[in-house]
Amino acid sequence: MLDRKLRKGQHEIVGFVLIVLLVSVIGVVFLSIALNKGSTIEPRSAEISNFLSSMMYTTTDCAINYVPQYRDMQDLIKECYKDSLGNKRSCLDGRNVCRVLEENLINLIDKSMPVGEEAVQKAYNFAAFYSSRQETIPDESIINLNKGSFKNCSSVAGSGHSLPVSSLGGGTIDVKLSICKN
């Protein structure tokens, strides 16, 4: 009788200890998963910031008034925005400014930051949009380029660049580039 009670008690203790250990292990696992998923803030990268600023000075092959007054990338973004407002703009050779902008941007990003499963970069997102000074007016997208998938990134880095556009009603054109790293 006493032996049975003792054995029952020992079993209870062993069970209790196992439960405590099990609960603690599960808790630790859940905590680690929760903390790893927690950071959604995109770190600002100096490299991407430098890339964006240097990209804006890049001379394109689009001249609007005369050759050799070729537009640089930031001018072309502004021209593309004017084009989207209805003020049709095209290069001297007849190509649409937005089309030229897209071609130049894709070539530039693909060559400078190659994207692929084997490469350092897995995917990118480039966006240029006009922001009015008035908060009630929503941002107007000028161009949006995507390549690759942002799923399972080891890290996401990004940066932005603002273009001063005094001639466009006091607003600004913001350019953003996000990179998903393998």
Binding site: I13, V20, L21, Y57, T58, T59, Y66, P68, D72, K111
Partner: protein, 229 residues
Amino acid sequence: MDVNFITIHKMKKTKKGDLKIQVLKNPAGFLGLSSSKLADLKIQAPTNLRFLGASIFNKKGDLKIQEMAFMLLGVFLFFILVGLFVLSIAYSNIRDEATRIAEERTLSAVTSISDSPELSCVASKSNCIDGDKLVGMLNKTSYQQFWPFSSLKVIKYSGFGKKGKELITCTFANYPDCDVLVVYDKKVSNERTIGSFIAFCRKEFENGYTYDKCEVGRILAGTELKNAG
């Protein structure tokens, strides 16, 4: 006492015989039991009830101690695991942050080179290198003491995606139809190279006009690792 003495003494000579004698002479002492002790127990058992009760209480106490020990072990292990987990997260964050700060510092140092008067573009563009100025600096060994880097190179846009041997080094003769401008290279064995994007501009002439032709480039600055290994 005499018997024992004789027994031990004789065991050296005839052990079996002596043992038989000893058992016969003192069977209870040999077995470790004496009739008087058994009798004592019989007498003690009914008169002293605490004899039985104490053993039960002792076992219950043992169980409680055991239970407490297991509980303490569980709690201890739990806190150890949590502590290790928190420490690992905190340590990894600190290391990441340190790496990021070091990278930012080096990058800002490299960026400041592009904004220095020796290299900066005339048109007050930030993060821009004047290619025509840079060509004038090629093969000038005096700049090895000017900047705290073991090597300084600028890769043009045409050199992006090319491997080391495929890059065409710029000289006065082949500029601008080349890929990399080597300002200087101390050729150190242990070198860590940090790169940053820059705008690389030069003057072009077309239709009777001169204009700035800019492209994306990459400045590479090498630092000698003195305590590597």
